[in-house]
C-alpha cells in the first residue's frame, strides 16, 4: 500500500512552527517554546505502535 502525504498542510522551512503542549510518557507536560529555549529544538514525529 502506498500512502501519500499532502505536503501543502505541512509548515515549510521559514515558517513559524505551531506551538504545542503535550504530556510525555511519564506525564510531564512539554511545550515547544520550552524545547527551543536553549536555541534549537528537534521535533521528531514517529508512527508509533500501529
Amino acid at each position: 500500500m502506498v500512502v501519500t502525504m499532502d505536503e501543502r498542510h505541512i509548515p515549510p522551512v521559514g515558517e513559524r512552527a505551531p506551538e504545542f503542549a503535550l504530556a510525555d510518557s511519564t506525564g510531564v507536560v512539554r511545550r515547544l517554546d520550552e524545547l527551543v529555549a536553549r536555541g534549537i529544538g528537534v521535533v521528531v514525529f514517529y508512527r508509533g505502535h500501529w
Partner: protein, 141 residues
C-alpha cells in the same frame, strides 16, 4: 542504539533539545522508551491535535497516525529544517540502514534541498527515528 545517550549529549552540547511525538498513549510509549533506553521525551498526542497542526495525520492508518517527519526549530519557533519521510510499508533493517545513509548524505529522503551539514548529528537523528519505528513495530508481541 547502545550509544543513544552519548549522542544525545552531543545534541545538548550543541544547544539542541529533542522530543519525539506520536499518537501513542503513555501505556504504549513508556515501555518503548524504556526498552530502547531513550533519554528524551516521547510525547503522547492521543488527540492528534499536534499531528494535525503539522499536517502529518495519516488517516489511511487505523485511527490516524503520524507520518514520520522531523523538524529543526529555532528559538523564534521558525522552522530551519524539515524532513518528511514517506515510509508507508514495513522496511527491514537493511532498508533502514540505507535510509539512514541517504539522509546522512542529504539525499532524497529529505524534502528540503540539500542543506547538508545544517545540523550536526543528522545521522544520529535519522538512526533515532528509525529505531523508534523499528522498536515499536512488533505486532507479534
Amino acid at each position: 542504539m547502545a550509544d543513544y545517550s552519548e549522542h544525545l549529549e552531543d545534541f545538548r552540547a550543541a544547544g539542541a533539545d529533542l522530543v519525539a511525538i506520536s499518537v501513542d498513549d503513555a501505556a504504549r510509549a513508556e515501555p518503548v522508551r524504556q526498552e530502547l533506553g531513550i533519554k528524551f521525551p516521547l510525547l503522547c498526542d492521543t488527540r492528534r491535535e499536534v499531528v494535525k497542526a503539522y499536517g502529518l495525520l495519516n488517516t489511511a492508518e487505523k485511527g490516524g497516525i503520524a507520518f514520520p517527519a522531523t523538524f529543526v526549530i529555532d528559538r523564534e519557533r521558525i522552522i530551519r529544517f524539515r524532513a518528511l519521510e514517506e515510509v508507508a510499508s514495513r522496511v527491514n533493517v537493511d532498508q533502514l540502514l540505507g535510509l539512514v545513509r541517504e539522509l546522512g548524505r542529504g539525499g532524497e529522503a529529505t524534502t528540503q534541498p540539500r542543506k547538508r551539514g545544517v545540523f550536526p548529528g543528522w545521522m544520529f537523528l535519522s538512526a533515532t527515528m528509525n529505531a523508534l519505528r523499528r522498536g515499536v513495530r512488533s505486532p507479534s508481541k
